[in-house]
Symmetry: C2
Subunit: 558 residues, 2 copies
């Protein structure tokens, strides 16, 4: 290793998955680079993979060990998968957090909730304002996305210019916020771009992206035709959509009521940051009760089927005094994120049972994506003409497709999933190292490693059920024949009508006298022997091998 | 109630959900109707709702109580959601099973596996052959679908003619099996149709359905361009697709190898039933190892992401000696059923990591649905012109949309979800009763009711983890201070570094002396007291309230 300076890129989250974004850039001699962090996001757990977990955050062990080399944290925008972990992780990194004003409102709240110093958040103006930290000069270049003030980062180092796209789309008329500014991007490209780290979410979508400004017309027509109450749901953070929906409601003689904590918080933040102007006057849920339903429009949270959000509550019954009925209309102005289909369908079905007309994209054109589709990705490639393209913000198949697209256009496309360190500088840029990265689960207040086995054990309980067995070894080291058995998540009665717990106790009473003294003296061996007896009986009786917890109480001579 | 005869319809599964089809028709005086059963299908569980369950079957308690009135069971086609429960449930109904030959092969195997008399399966020829049982005359009218010999049932009674569509699409050139025969359907409609019970799966899909015969060309072109091994997956039962895929492989100089038990079983059944002719010669997986990869095509199971199927195995590593690598191609000639998205994406990502080109419908036109799209549903409505249309085979939102479509066309559309009994005859047909129906889970070999709480308890274990506590009450009714604690699915060590199980034991040792004697004497009260102590401590230490199993051993005086 020489002491020459190098420019490196290392994704710790968000590359090889969608969610939990966390990227590192470094510049300096190998192993001594100064570092900046881009985004500290969360991912959301599901029953299939992380039951009971509150939120998934990046594994930042590598960063934490190098904390003294971190010059700053940059947050591209205020979506949870980019800013959501800043409260959970800041205390382990303790570097200043740079972001734009709307994003800062959210970052500050998260730091405060976690008991950290909100003064660490430094509000930054967009391009051409520049932040210089260590060897890095960073500018926030506005992009359009589905939240205000989303930004790409233009990162200049002595090793070259990197453009980190963040989440973006090309929208020349985004209703709220900054339109795509081709002149700006051509200016950024002018002196050469070493590497473009680019959003890959929609690389499989072949038609050009559509503009937010195409929505007011069809949504207005839909509401104009509604006879009862109108309810619309979308992501709370999609403030442009909230405005489109609310404006369409008002234009059709409806008062607007926002429901759901996140929704009100986002609108307040939008007004506070100055990005949301002319949002119609809204009624409180209570005041809205006095409005005839044909003059009312609710805009609510829960477009992804979240069980605790307003949409799900309205599906189940009434929410804050409002109840939907035959002839009302419910609009999903949103896309269902893969994995949420069943939860969203559950709400649509519950609403249909109430006689509500449920409208979604299968009925017309009521949503546009916040991510660049394939032709728009190509347009950005063509403007920036980077030496290297590294796809991020995608599952592995998105990264591969995007890298192949880059190759087909004469760029160097490098697939770098989480933990892959890429040198961007030098004569032969490419992968230089692999770092072990896992994921961290926030489970209640405990941090649990994804590989710790804790959650795997919970899934085993869910799949197999549990038999708990209490045994007593008396003062003379004799294992008593009586055991106490409890079942969890197993049928109490077999198909034959017998009590399963009693059968297990009887079976153990018969087997225990045959367990030899050496086994009785050894906790592990005794547990294993009892587990085997219980599992074999259950396999015979109910066709299942349950988990078995054996609790051995050893009585001491008084 | 008079003794006039009535014609009734009662769905027990499949109406208000997709899967687990089971419908009842009855004719006779109210409460004394003779009955026939149409389909006995299963639904598949998921981690989100039924962890560890093997399969979900209809709750047939209502039918079982009226077993003496059941004249026959009819199976429309051999998909698992129509025939899958025949082995599990036949013993409780014991009526002859009528179906066409290809379906019979599967029904017979299922009866045999369950130890029932396979002779109960009566192979029936299609229209105009008729089966007369009790007051019913039933004809199997061929429809196109994604499996051979799918049939609608034309059910004639003195109360009128009912057409039960089964799963169907309109395909005038289905590659394998019977084409849509408009003349036949006009003939069926000629004398008037009282009720049309109709598939609703694709009611939200607005473009006309596409024919299986449109696929050979694009699939052939795709394979012609492949450089390495080609693997394709689809539903094993979609024999037309298997033939399309295999023919395209052979036409491009490739030997064909089928992988996965279900796939081989289906092809064998297709040949045996005479519906599959000219299927190319296939190689065994072992012999296929000798074929150069550019001359080989594997057709494999697992298009829905099933972890144990061939597709998943090839994603993880090698399967039967075959391993995919850079430059190979993997085609999903299938649609992902809602709920399976994450599992399918897992395989696609694993394959992408190996450098395999994963092709699906986002790349072109490689799949057609087996269900009638909205315009095709309308075409069937227009041919049959039924007095009543009752949507089935759909979630509630599908049923509602389909009923509204019927209304908009001047028919009487009745939404009848599982348990809704509809009279089809008389002057004012409509809902006449509601029957309590649940679902039954086959869990190992045990039948568990969906409302029994067993599976709900397993989900609680998955979400909250478990603390098992063993306590001893001695011969003098004194609760010993020592307890024995085991954790399952909880972090062993708190964020502060303490051993959680030990903390619980210490906390209990402190609390136990304060538990009064009356509580100690009462199992329920003592359990509740201990549970509260444990949950409060855990809430403080790890921010979670776990499930708690308390095992109280009461020692008896010797």
């Amino acid at each position: 290793m020489t002491d020459r300076n190098r420019l490196i890129y290392l994704p710790l989250g968000g590359a090889g998955e969608i969610g939990m974004n966390c990227y590192v850039y470094g510049y300096g001699p190998a192993g001594k680079e100064r570092l900046i962090v881009v985004d500290l996001g969360v991912a959301f757990p599901d029953m299939d993979g992380q039951p009971g977990v509150d939120v998934i955050i990046p594994d930042i062990a590598w960063l934490e060990e190098r904390r003294d080399r971190i010059d700053a944290i940059f947050i591209t925008h205020a979506h949870e998968d980019h800013v959501g972990a800043v409260g959970h992780l800041w205390g382990r990194l303790k570097a200043p957090v740079y972001c734009r004003r709307f994003t800062a409102i959210h970052a500050i709240r998260k730091l405060e909730e976690a008991g950290h110093d909100a003064g660490q958040v430094r509000v930054t103006l967009p391009w051409p304002e520049a932040v210089t930290v260590g060897p890095f000069t960073v500018q926030f270049a506005p992009v359009s996305h589905s939240i205000p003030e989303a930004s790409a980062l233009v990162i200049d180092t002595p090793g070259g210019r990197v453009v980190h796209s963040g989440d973006f789309k090309i929208d020349r008329d985004p209703v709220v916020g900054e339109a795509f500014d081709e002149t700006l991007w051509r200016q950024i490209a002018q002196d050469g771009v070493t590497a473009f780290i680019c959003d890959s979410t929609n690389v499989f979508t072949r038609h050009p992206g559509r503009s937010e400004s195409q929505l007011p017309e069809p949504i207005g027509e839909l509401i104009a035709g509604a006879k009862g109450m109108v309810v619309a749901t979308t992501f709370a953070s999609n403030i442009a959509r909230l405005k489109t929906l609310a404006d369409a409601g008002v234009a059709n003689g409806r008062s607007i009521c926002l429901m759901g904590r996140a929704m009100k918080r986002m609108v307040t933040a939008g007004v506070e940051a100055g990005v949301l102007t002319n949002f119609p006057k809204t009624l409180s849920p209570e005041d809205a009760l006095d409005v005839p339903r044909e003059n009312l429009m609710l805009i609510v949270t829960g477009s992804q089927g979240e069980r605790r959000a307003a949409s799900a509550a309205l599906g189940r019954g009434s929410y804050l005094g409002h109840e939907l009925k035959e002839g009302d209309m419910f609009l999903f102005s949103s896309k269902t994120i893969p994995g949420n289909e069943v939860g969203v369908a559950r709400i649509k079905n519950a609403l249909a049972e109430k006689g509500v007309d449920v409208i979604d994209d299968s009925h017309g054109f009521y949503h546009v994506s916040g991510h660049a589709n394939r032709p728009d990705l190509e347009a950005m490639h063509d403007i920036l003409r980077p030496r290297i393209l590294i796809p991020n913000h995608g599952e592995y198949r998105h990264l591969r497709e995007h890298a192949q697209l880059a190759l087909s256009k004469g760029m160097t496309g490098i697939i770098a999933a989480n933990g892959t360190m890429v040198e961007l500088s030098g004569n032969a840029p490419g992968i230089v190292d692999y770092v072990d990265v896992s994921k961290t689960y926030l489970d209640g207040t405990a941090f649990v490693g994804a590989l710790d086995g804790v959650i795997r054990d919970r899934m085993k309980l869910a799949l197999n059920g549990l038999v708990a067995v209490a045994l007593i070894v008396d003062e003379d080291d004799v294992l008593l024949e009586d055991s106490w058995v409890q079942l969890r998540g197993l049928p109490e009665v077999t198909n034959g009508g017998a009590d399963l717990a009693e059968m297990i106790e009887d079976d153990l009473a018969e087997a225990i006298p045959r367990i030899d003294a050496r086994t009785v003296m050894d906790d592990d061996k005794l547990e294993e022997a009892v587990r085997r007896i219980v599992r074999n009986l259950c396999l015979t009786e109910i066709g299942k091998k349950p988990e078995v917890a054996v609790l051995i109480s050893r009585l001491m001579a008084a």
